[in-house]
Symmetry: C2
Subunit: 112 residues, 2 copies
DNA sequence: TCATTAATTAAGGAGCTGCTTACATGGCGG
DNA sequence: CCGCCATGTAAGCAGCTCCTTAATTAATGA
């Protein structure tokens, strides 16, 4: 299958690469051109372009053309969705609830 | 390359699939056996096992053997790391800061 | 003991990722 | 106008992902 066509999967997949996360971290401190973003990485320009395409497809950056430079800007909207999902699934509150549930199951008998 | 060997990449990668996210959502309401987790999906058991292996490798679940059942339990620790990263990179505060930075660059002259 | 149940491992295939080199596009300065 | 500059596109390749079917392990209970 490997669908992952849905919005949230695109975002998480885009975040699942150290190079792309580093790019977002850089953009977090202000917009940058492709050349500026490429500088820290020992990687060909096409590879950089492809990483940026992944980020753009996930809606995490925006590329605006000015002269012969492409200025990349961070878009944090999709990160809100990702954050919502993660926040909904973590925290000690729920962990304790799970442990309680497990205890109850065990008390009810061996077969779940 | 496709390294993604680091902890955070493993977690984001694990979250980048709707099936695995649904499994975590189910586990969020309490532990479950592999059979219970497999039930909602039109997918072979080995496929389920492989998804669970991905989640386990990312540290998001724990599998304990009781008789012939494997009980899966959610582990929210790695989600904290993911949440930290996302939280550090989102929010209107930073977005506004980026826009200001962009304005300043434009005022300083055409070439970045 | 032996069939049943629960799950994993093994092997293989279609398709995607992430990188490369080579070439194309398009604005800019001389 | 023409050769630089910054970037993108094309094509190709190794390796990974996600799924499948078939065989395997391991515990249960008549």
């Amino acid at each position: 299958m490997a669908d992952a066509a849905d919005e949230l999967s695109l975002v998480f997949r885009a975040l699942a690469d150290p190079t792309r996360r580093a790019m977002l971290s850089r953009l977090h401190r202000g917009p940058a051109t492709v050349g500026e973003l490429a500088e820290p990485f020992a990687m060909s320009r096409p590879a950089i372009s492809q990483h940026l395409a992944v980020l753009e497809r996930a809606g995490l950056i925006e590329r605006t053309v000015t002269a012969q430079w492409r200025t990349c800007t961070l878009r944090t909207g999709p990160l809100d969705d990702a954050s919502d999902w993660v926040e909904r699934h973590r925290g000690e509150w729920n962990e304790r609830f799970d442990l309680l549930d497990e205890q109850l199951r065990r008390m009810r008998g061996g077969t779940p």
